[in-house]
Symmetry: C2
Subunit: 326 residues, 2 copies
């Protein structure tokens, strides 16, 4: 793989950088050595209009939406190299219709997402963030003991929603803590030792904890709703490292406020970066700003993957982590 | 095992309740049905002075110090039933000289302590508590991304200080995350697959993380000192679920303030409930008020153990979790 083409070659290797303004790009200067970058935010580039009609390759940063309007802007697009584990931000029906190939972050993030899910669960059960607040507020010498006590991790019945690359890693980790695992998924997985529930309601009824690791699709939108939360019950815990819209957030907030479920660990939200402020006062929730997959190590793995895919596109090699249209 | 003796029997079953005022006792009323409780804080008990000379059995709540002065107050003492996993709060030399048997919490807490150690490590590496503060402060929509990124859990070289019942459980959990484990201990353990380092300095040099799970003894006092912190290095992390005085706290604070180690997760401190305030502003430390072992489930296991031991004393049965004098 060589990236140092002559200026002419680089000029032909046109790359559209597609992103929401809030997603930063740390790798831009590196890409510039190999590609002619087309940046919609760079108003000083007079050739944008001209080039946007001929650009064939898009690098989509994070879950920046690629709608049919976006796609209409780029009539020559053949391939979208994604950098996100999910793919709900792509209009896949339109991509398929136009025969545009789409790739994701593949497994680059799976270990980190699984680690983070387990970290959130231990935190919610054992109250680590709440304890940290208590100590930093200087309350220990004044109040004495922090109450109520948390709950033991071992023995918890953990229901994994989506036993893919992240869910499988979560299950492996939590088995080492003595949790019992069950799961739901589009279909039962072969060679998996854990009980399978064909629907989320049964899984919730038989679980102390639900961990959301699935992709957001039409079928999984609001998969955690009022009925599921009721089935999970007063001491149940929801951990979400998938996508915010897997959960009916309004209902979740109500259940948490009324103490009708036990707690939640949330890395994703329906309307990011907006987080419901009613949660800010609750000690049985742990909140983080969509960073479950963000470590320098996984960023490196991701950069390797998308760099490979960009190059593969121009050399007509097979892409990695390509979405297969059903 | 029957606890409902006649008043005369109960009167003979004298039990000294020994505790620091800040340790609460949730099980007192239950004990009263089986024992005549001698409570040094109950000034309304006119028989204290008289009974203190004849009491044979002490229930020691938490790590309340039992010094030689304490022991001098109770000349007839034969047995101390402890409720703490550690035993550094006992003057064991004096107990041994007087032939007083001493018990601990045994394994009641080991799973919880191990879970908590892993929770603290994930939190420090991935910045969960810091992320939670960031979201609750409303900073996400304003600042955008939280930086710096945390670090991946997998691949970290974890050095366990004291591979006993807690350390072994920590190692089992962290192997499932893809960490590599090594340890130091008084002596090399048979049938343990992990590399053994005969001294803490070598372990620190070869580790990204040190997890303190050992008892506090004369040998382990300040086992983490300036030299060890230097050997651990700029990105090294210290997790302490053992005892505060395993660490030279003043040095640790200086190393953290100067960025000369990477972070720390602390559940215990040298001068509890005092926590060095210089730590309150640091995002790479996680602080909790000595609650690593506190879950309702482990409290139940503990109560079962000490209830058994109290009864065993009066029925001349072998004690459980008794400290063996070397």
């Amino acid at each position: 793989m060589s990236f140092s083409g002559s200026p002419e070659t680089t000029n032909q290797r046109l790359l559209l950088l597609h992103r929401l303004p809030r997603f930063k790009t740390m790798f831009l200067s590196k890409l510039r050595t190999s590609y002619r970058i087309l940046n919609p935010f760079d108003e000083s580039d007079p050739s944008f209009l001209h080039l946007s009609s001929s650009v064939r390759l898009m690098l989509c940063v994070g879950p920046s939406p690629v709608t049919s309007e976006t796609l209409n802007t780029y009539p020559s697009l053949e391939c979208i190299v994604g950098t996100s584990a999910g793919f709900d931000h792509f209009d896949l029906a339109e991509c398929r219709r136009r025969n545009i190939r789409v790739t994701t972050a593949g497994d680059s993030f799976s270990d980190d997402a699984a680690d983070y899910a387990v970290g959130l669960l231990i935190d919610v059960l054992r109250g680590i963030s709440a304890a940290d607040r208590f100590v930093r507020a200087g309350s220990w010498p004044v109040i004495g003991e922090l109450s109520p006590l948390g709950y033991k991790v071992g023995g918890k019945r953990v229901g994994i929603v989506g036993l893919g690359s992240i869910g499988t890693r979560v299950s492996k980790r939590l088995e080492a803590f003595g949790c019992s695992i069950a799961y739901t998924s589009r279909r039962m997985k072969p060679n998996v030792p854990f009980p399978f529930h064909s629907n989320i309601h049964d899984l919730a009824t038989n679980s102390d904890v639900l961990i959301l690791c699935c992709a957001l699709t039409e079928e999984t939108h609001h998969i955690i709703d009022k009925e599921v939360l009721t089935a999970l019950g007063k001491e149940g815990i929801v951990i979400n490292v998938g996508r915010g819209a897997l959960v009916d957030e309004k209902e979740l907030v109500e259940f948490l406020k009324r103490g009708e479920i036990g707690g939640a660990g949330l890395d994703v939200y329906e309307n990011e970066p907006h987080v419901p402020e009613e949660l800010f006062g609750l000690d049985n929730v742990v909140l983080s700003p969509h960073l479950a997959v963000l470590t320098p190590e996984s960023m490196e793995a991701l950069e390797e993957l998308f760099t490979y895919n960009l190059e593969a596109f121009f050399s007509n090699k097979p892409l990695r982590a390509q979405i297969e249209y059903e």
